[in-house]
Amino acid sequence: MSDSIFDHDHHFPAADDPADIPAHLLRQTPLDLPNPAELEVLRHYTRLSQKNFSIDTQFYPLGSCTMKYNPRIAHAMAVLPGFARLHPDTPAPAMQGLLRVLWELQEWLAAVTGMAAVSLTPAAGAQGELAGVAMIRAYHAARGDQGRRKMLIPTAAHGTNPASARMAGFEVVEIPSLADGDLDMEALDRHLGADVAGIMLTNPSTLGVFERRIAEIAGHVHAAGGLLYYDGANLNAILGRVQPGRMGFDVMHLNLHKTFATPHGGGGPGAGAVAVQERLRPFLPLPTVTREAEGAWRWTSEADLPRSIGRLSAHGGNIGVLLRAHAYLRRLGRAGVGRVSVYAALNANYLLKELQRVGYQAAFPERRASHEFILGVSDLQQATGIRALDVAKRLLDFGIHAPTIYFPQLVPECLLIEPTETESKATLDRFVAVMARIRQEALEQPELLRAAPHHLPVGRLDEALAARRLDVAAVR
């Protein structure tokens, strides 16, 4: 019995074609999908699931991804039939429960970010970024300030930042960072001017440290007529403690599937709500939810926000994800939200110290870690040829997911480690012990690392072959 669903095929007689659809519009060849029995389907996919690492089964310190616990109650609430069976074109009076939940979430996200208004509709962080920079563009355009074609982006930024800026029609200008992790202010000032629409930053930055001169940066950018975009990817580091709105940012997105504990689902769905200062409110993507004077809720439309950047999906966004984020925020409340960044930072700083203690080198040893931090293993590479990739693969053998590697690209042979606040000291201590052992292995038996992983369903996969062969669909 192979491990392919295509082998579970039973051949039953097919149903007849409908008489009232012309033959030339009908399928010409039988649909060649397998016909497994229900148990075969259940068994196949259940067993596949067991081949995954996940938060529910492993420590998953993937930097920049905020792999925190995804509360199951949030899932249970999002799939209640009263939500799950609701058609998007249901008139507002028949979906007051959902609209109220979404409106509350807008309000709470505005409170958390220190912004004036929120639209929940972007489907993921990157779509939130696109919406955000599109609003910057619409803002300048509305003022008749047409020459601002450039978007400044730190070299260390997530790849989505430049990609989103380009999709919104901007030219991208990269700004370097200094050795201490802060932005190069001189380079910034050099680029600022009448052709600059704004800057996209995340703070703490992707280097795992807080941009200390953020107020100064905001002052310079605003003075030059630009706007500041906040990439919410690292919001977990400051949640409940520092509001991007108070740092001087004009617009931002939030990754609800990071900071607000909705599941990553093996690659989505996310939700990339955007939040803006008052002056950008007219440009928010549609729809949002508004509360009428008489206390009922409804979707907004083009009539409410005629200068909106428009719609990013056919309906109101990833509602099911929003429901989960709402449940998470409602569960935590003010006090719980405040604890998130505190314990995320405690776990990161503790882990950093402990890993330094067992011999690893911090990329920014003089800096306080935010919710994540960078190690570099160039010393190992020089000593034995062992690379960050090898350390990562060996970790898998111990039932620990690898950190992010080779990002940010500024730091050679780096590991970006984000433990999140939901992991216990015992888990972190075990990670340190495993990392210490791996370091020892790297020095004493490097071939063990180079051949890792050893204990997973497959060994290190040939990714070059994958791209060359390009077998991307099962063919009969």
């Binding site: 149903a15 074609d17 409908p18 399928r27 649909l31 229900e38 389907v41 996919y45 996940s54 529910d56 998953y60 792999m67 509360p71 109650i73 609430m77 999002a78 039939p81 939500f83 609701l86 058609h87 249901t90 008139p91 009076p93 028949a94 429960g97 309000e107 958390v112 993921a124 430049p162 990609a163 989103s164 919104a168 400051i238 509001q243 504990a261 689902g265 093996g266 690659g267 989505g268 719609r311 056919a314 309906h315 994800v321 449940a327 925020l329 409602r330 006090a335 719980g336 314990y343 930072a345 405690l346 402990e354 990002f407 997973l456 369903p457 996969l461 040939d462 062969r469 991307v472 669909a473």
Partner: protein
Amino acid sequence: MPYIPHDAAETAAMLAAVGIQRLDQLFDEIPAALQAADMALPEGLSEMALQRELEHRALDNAPLRCFAGAGAYAHHIPAIVWDIASRGEFYSAYTPYQPEASQGTLQVLYEYQSFITRLTGLEVSNASLYDGASGLAEACLMALRIQGGEPAILVPEHLLPSWRRVLDSMLGLQRIRLRSVPYDPDTGTLRLPGDAGGAAALIIPQINGFGVLEAVDALTDWAHAHGLLAIAVVNPLALALLKAPGEWGARGADMAVGEGQPLGIPLTGGGPYFGFLACRKAHVRQLPGRLVAKTVDGQGREGFCLTLQAREQHIRRGKATSNICTNQGLMVTAATIHMAALGGHGLRRTALTCHQRASRLRKHLAALPEVRLPYAGPFFHEFVLRLPRPASAVRDALLGHGILAGVPLADSGLGEAGDLLVCATELLEEADLRAYRDALAAVLETV
């Protein structure tokens, strides 16, 4: 502390290891003026209280018999689909960047890609986009990358309005011109323009915004004859019955894109759904989004990994095919299980049942004295009713009968005031169809 494990002793030990005394000191690099804002958030709830509150909210959404479609469809989802998809190993995993630790998700995506290629008759499918509408925008961008030249796309006027608005938003940012192609008001089908006007692609919606089936062979051939790419917009369930885009016309459509929601995704007020996008192998390097390939490990064991990542933003940054990063992994997991659970035969049976139910409903409703059917052509499971009163008023009145009657088209600028787009799926039994007819008859007498 919800979801935070630390007790006081552990916190103290960790602070000591960090070399500080108080938790606040963890933030000592952050200027004090920026810190500790007071936020207008409510107090937290216990899980019990949260559940009670949200169950009440859920009950504030009326349960209705659903005759609405317009891009989102009420279907039966086998119990196993979400039982498996919700397993922690799928639910709480990240994008499979470490393939050895993610073979479950990767194999599911490979199977998904395989299923989509078979449904669409095209060679390559990506691993999903956000939804059908934004997926169509990505398909248009892809067509422009392939074609070069003038940035223009031919868009049928009777594309679903909700999709057209997304094209306007997303393509407008890059100053891409969307040239509307009108429909024939007698048939509700596409009327070809005289020339292609230098556009890169023609969008061919099968099914269109009126639920009517288009002459896809002729449209595809016309596009190709005029040097355009043919972008098929399709309902994946309908493809169990209808001609696959890869078989349209002499050469087949070049891309197929659609809303994946009918494949096991609950309605949930509009999302999360997922968009699928399939293309010819020749165009794979212009395809946005993730792609999974089969390969081998050092011992020759088969395995799966992400491939052609050089197209993507995390490698190629500003020059990527798209900014998309997180997509709709869990939805695709559910859709893959859904397709396997129904199987080829089950998908076809479901599609046939939808068609039969819609045909019966159409007959029932057409028999009412004041109801007209403006379009006579073949359809799948959706059709337009032309009512003698504003469709939205009739729709609102039918809510009182526990019926969501359909989607009024004129609200979004398509068709006439009385046009109601009505859908029937396998979920509706004969009694439901009759209940609709009787309620509509009653409402038309009073509204």
